[in-house]
């Protein structure tokens, strides 16, 4: 092109562009109009977006909630939250709908002449306070109880603790986390002297081997599972190993599946320890410096009604004695007990034993809802302690929590019969004195003995010994094991029952007073997730009708019973920060330091201990945990009495209390599915979740089904010694049990599978075993 032509064309280009620019700037195309057009569509001024942790599982994903015209109309994954960086699961994605089921409870309801009648708050609260006071005066404080939840906010749990332990002066405060995490808690305390994981979610991007001990992580902690599968995608040597009694989505995604007989995890874990010792793969230096060995009584019953009681006899043993104990758990013996081929046991042990492999163990209900739940938690820790694979990035045991705040509320605030906030114990005089000081109570006010754990509370409600219970944020009439037994007792003795909830459930159906509660973002609050991350959210929408926060309800009744001094915060708005900041004092200096309320408001949560605004990612490890002194390398400072050492426990395999036999030849396991949260009271009211998973069913192994002549979709009857139920058979759907095993999800309140389960629990943790009992299957002819 010659230069004249070039110049001509450039001039043409320039003037054309200038013409366009001028047109744009004038009138409709002005900068203001263009900005307004952008803003109107994409930054819709009618929607505000705010952060909150998800209402559901113990993962604690961050969500952004879109509020328009006073209603939550959308959520998005919060890309700034390190837990999930913008990803959610199907439940999280449908959170807004959880608030708007048509039958939301909006007014207090009092049972009068067999029918529920709407009442004002004054009348309802006065009635509760009156009945509680009467029962206290006539039968003693221990006749009154509060049963709360791992879905309580920190504020709710702290108010309940202060009200009942500080005001009423009894230790009848329990929560449904007793049914899900108690074994994990006692496991931690027995092994390390302190509760909660030493690692954090950062482990998922650094591990080489991920071992699932009986938890269906793909459905139950899906976003965390996705972090693990993403790790494997980027680092193709990474292995996922599933130890399970049935094949699930987790198994499908895993590189190897160890299909075990129920309860035999006790043997498998010991078998791995056996091989590590045999192969000389013990980290001798670590064990010598940081561990002690202990044993306890082993014939301790199963916590059953009228059964053998647990007598403690904890004592120190030597490493040699431990080796002698674990000697019998040869691969052959373990195969005999568990049905897992020796070869697989050896392979898994080799991975644990290889010094260059970073191994993360993960578990949840398979290990915790177990009549030896504490033991299996200890046994998994044993493996990590023997190899020194602990408190290291990508290398360590990680106990996953089921509920959004079983950690933050129940465990850390101490809403259990034996506990006080900040990891303290009612039985410890110093701890009581400390609490009495903060609560401004006269010395000696706090009751020094644990009174009733959850199963004990419900048994006593059934015998008439306990006369009143206030249930909040949980659904025991669906989740207690051996439901028929409890229903009988309740009908006979008619205790005074108050239930706070957001929807009618089988539990509100037995209440004398039903109180409408504010749900999730309808009040401000804090949750604490599995990785010690405390997260805060503001109130974003108004609750419907006259619903109020659970903590407000507790405080109002406390006032009426004369305990108003305990709660110097006048209203819900003041109670949010007030309760939290007072609770925070309990956490300082004891290795559980939580961040300030204003720090939490700004952050996407912070992992405690938070010292000088800095989170702790790996506990007990020098350099990462501010409580570990320079030069110590590791310090399990919860075990001062053992020289800051962790405990390797001698824990044997024992048979469970009820095994399949001639009359009841199948194992029954219960659990969850990704679409539904717990008893489904929230998620079933969401169209997409209900329609994807409308009703409960029973999974059968395809060969078992074929032998019985049962096809997919056919109706069958399950019968146990305690109850029976008719369910649709699910064959070759998302879960395939091992031969001789069944699985039933418990989200369906019209199919109460807990009428069949067994009221047996771990004698140390008092947590029931929902994973094992014996049933038979009968075909149903139409």
């Amino acid at each position: 092109m010659d230069q004249t032509r070039r110049k001509f064309l450039k001039t043409m280009a320039a003037s054309w562009g200038a013409g366009v620019a001028t047109q744009l700037s004038a009138g409709n195309g002005s900068a203001e109009t263009r900005k307004a057009a952008r803003d109107s569509m994409l930054n819709d001024g009618t929607i505000t977006w705010s952060k909150a942790p998800c209402r559901f599982c113990g993962t604690g994903c961050g969500v952004m909630v879109g509020v328009q015209n006073g209603r939550a109309v959308a959520v998005a994954g919060d890309m700034q939250n390190p837990v999930n960086k913008g990803q959610l699961c199907v439940k999280g994605y449908h959170l807004p709908y959880v608030l708007y089921g048509k039958d939301r409870l909006t007014k207090p309801l009092i049972k009068k002449n067999g029918a529920y009648v709407e009442a004002g708050w004054e009348e309802a609260l006065d009635l509760i306070a009156k009945r509680f006071s009467e029962i206290r005066d006539e039968h003693g404080a221990n006749a009154v109880s509060v049963y709360g939840s791992g879905q309580w906010t920190i504020q709710d749990g702290y108010a309940a603790n202060k009200f009942i332990k500080g005001g009423l002066g009894c230790n009848n405060v329990e929560a449904n986390a007793r049914l899900c995490m108690a074994s994990a808690v006692v496991g931690f305390v027995k092994s390390f002297g302190k509760d909660e994981p030493m690692g954090c979610y950062d482990d998922f991007e650094q591990g080489d081997v991920f071992v699932f001990w009986g938890n269906n992580m793909a459905e139950m902690h899906p976003v965390l599972f996705s972090r693990i599968t993403e790790r494997r995608r980027k680092a193709n040597w990474v292995k996922l190993i599933d130890i399970a009694t049935r094949k699930t989505r987790t198994s499908e995604a895993s590189d190897s599946v160890l299909l075990m007989d129920p309860h035999s995890d006790l043997a498998i874990a010991n078998g791995i320890a056996h091989l590590i010792i045999e192969k000389g793969q013990v980290n001798e230096a670590f064990v010598k410096k940081h561990c002690v060995f202990r044993a306890d009584n082993e014939d301790i019953g199963f916590g059953m009604r009228g059964g053998k009681a647990y007598k403690k006899n904890e004592r120190e043993i030597s490493f040699d004695q431990y080796k002698a104990f674990v000697k019998k758990y040869t691969p052959e013996y373990v195969e005999e007990i568990s049905g897992v081929p020796q070869g697989q046991i050896r392979e898994l042990a080799a991975l644990f034993g290889a010094p260059d492999k970073k191994v993360v163990s993960l578990w949840c209900m398979g290990a915790n809802q177990h009549t030896r739940g504490t033991w299996i938690n200890n046994l998994i820790y044993n493996i990590h302690l023997l190899t020194g694979k602990i408190s290291e990035p990508g290398n360590g045991p990680f106990s996953l929590t089921g509920q959004p705040s079983a950690c933050g509320t129940v465990r850390e605030v101490g809403t259990l019969t034996h506990a006080l906030p900040g990891g303290r114990l009612v039985a410890n005089a110093e701890h009581r004195a400390f609490t009495e000081k903060i609560w401004k109570l006269p010395a000696g006010k706090l009751a020094p003995k644990p009174s009733n754990h959850t199963m004990s509370m419900f048994r006593k409600l059934g015998t008439g010994e306990l006369k009143a219970m206030w249930v909040q944020v949980t659904n025991p009439m669906v989740t207690l094991p051996d439901l028929n037994h409890f229903n009988e007792g309740l009908k006979k003795h008619k205790p005074f029952i108050v239930v706070s909830d957001i929807y009618p459930t089988p539990t509100t159906a037995i209440a004398d007073v039903i109180l409408p509660s504010a749900a999730w973002i309808e009040r401000e609050g804090c949750f604490g997730n599995s990785e010690r991350r405390t997260q805060q959210w503001d109130k974003l929408v108004d609750p419907p009708g006259e619903a109020t926060a659970d903590s407000w309800q507790l405080i109002e009744v406390a006032r009426r019973m004369g305990y108003g001094d305990l709660f110097p915060w006048a209203d819900e708005a003041a109670q949010g920060e007030g309760l939290y900041e007072e609770y925070r004092q309990f956490t300082l200096g004891v290795g559980k330091d939580v961040a300030t309320y204003s720090e939490l408001k700004q952050a996407r949560g912070l992992r405690w201990p938070v010292i000088n605004g800095r989170e702790t990612r790996w506990r007990y490890r020098e350099g990462s945990d501010p409580y570990v002194k320079k030069g110590e390398e590791f310090s399990f400072y919860g075990n001062k009495k053992f020289g800051n050492r962790a405990v390797i426990w001698q824990r044997p395999y024992v048979d469970p209390p009820e095994k399949p036999d001639g009359d009841y030849p199948f194992w029954l396991c219960t659990g969850r599915v990704v679409e539904h949260w717990h008893t489904g009271s929230m998620t079933r009211r969401v169209k997409q979740l209900h329609q994807a998973m409308p009703s409960a069913y029973v999974e059968l192994n395809p060969e078992d089904a074929r032998e019985m002549g049962v096809s997919d979709g056919a109706k069958v009857k399950l019968v146990s010694r305690r109850g029976e139920i008719i369910l649709e058979a699910a064959i070759d759907r998302r879960g395939v049990p091992k031969r001789g095993n069944l699985f039933v999800p418990f989200f369906d309140e019209s199919k109460l599978i807990n009428e069949l389960t067994l009221d047996a629990h771990c004698p140390l943790s008092k947590q029931p075993d929902y994973k094992k009992c014996a049933v038979r299957v009968e075909k149903v002819t139409v």
Binding site: G66, M79, K102, P222, T229, R249, Y503, R685, Q691
Partner: protein, 186 residues
């Protein structure tokens, strides 16, 4: 010699209904309604509108890896996040029409396509992009699986985001709309 005067092109596109300027911005209402039908609210993962025989992601990718089109309509959209492993973590298949209890919420609607103040300006992206990988535009807009009325009216440009913007505010937490999952190693 090709002399392309770009202001004329968009006007043509307007007339043919491929660009902006018509009431719905050129995207057929049917397509937008179909999009909304599958989603609880704008931005929610779509439910699976067909039977699923096998849950494995290979089965999903068989159709959604490359996408499928029939008679000018998207039959199987290309997944905007092909590296994400667990499809059924977010996408579920309705097995019934029934409800357990009715729900009173109408989730956030799919946004309107706003007419641009000047016809040739590249249209703003009228939908959320979180959970979409980079270069996911072709999922719905380019190629044989893309509905005809969603295809751009311009040439071989592959860096769509250079001209088409979202511009969510900081407060919305969406950033530029591209999710960085999982979090980077410390």
């Amino acid at each position: 010699m090709y002399l392309i005067k770009w202001t004329w092109v968009p006007i043509l596109l307007v007339l043919v209904g491929c660009g902006q300027g018509t009431e719905t911005g050129g995207v057929e209402p049917v397509a937008r309604e179909a999009r909304a039908e599958l989603r609880a609210f704008h931005g929610a993962p779509p439910v699976i509108p067909h039977g699923v025989r096998s849950e494995g992601r290979e089965n999903c990718l068989a159709c959604h890896g490359e996408g499928m089109q029939a008679e000018g309509r998207i039959v199987a959209a290309v997944t905007p996040h092909p590296t994400w492993f667990n499809c059924t973590q977010c996408h579920v298949e309705p097995l019934t029409d029934a409800l357990f209890v009715a729900n009173t919420l109408t989730g956030l609607a799919e946004p309107e396509i706003v007419a641009m103040p000047q016809p040739f300006l590249p249209p703003y992206i009228p939908h959320r992009l979180d959970n979409y990988r980079e270069q996911a535009c072709e999922t719905c807009h380019i190629g044989t699986q893309a509905a005809i009325n969603l295809r751009p009216g311009h040439g071989p440009r592959t860096n769509c985001r250079q001209c088409h913007i979202t511009n969510y505010t900081e407060a919305s937490g969406f950033g530029t709309g591209v999710a960085a999952f999982p979090p980077p190693s410390p």
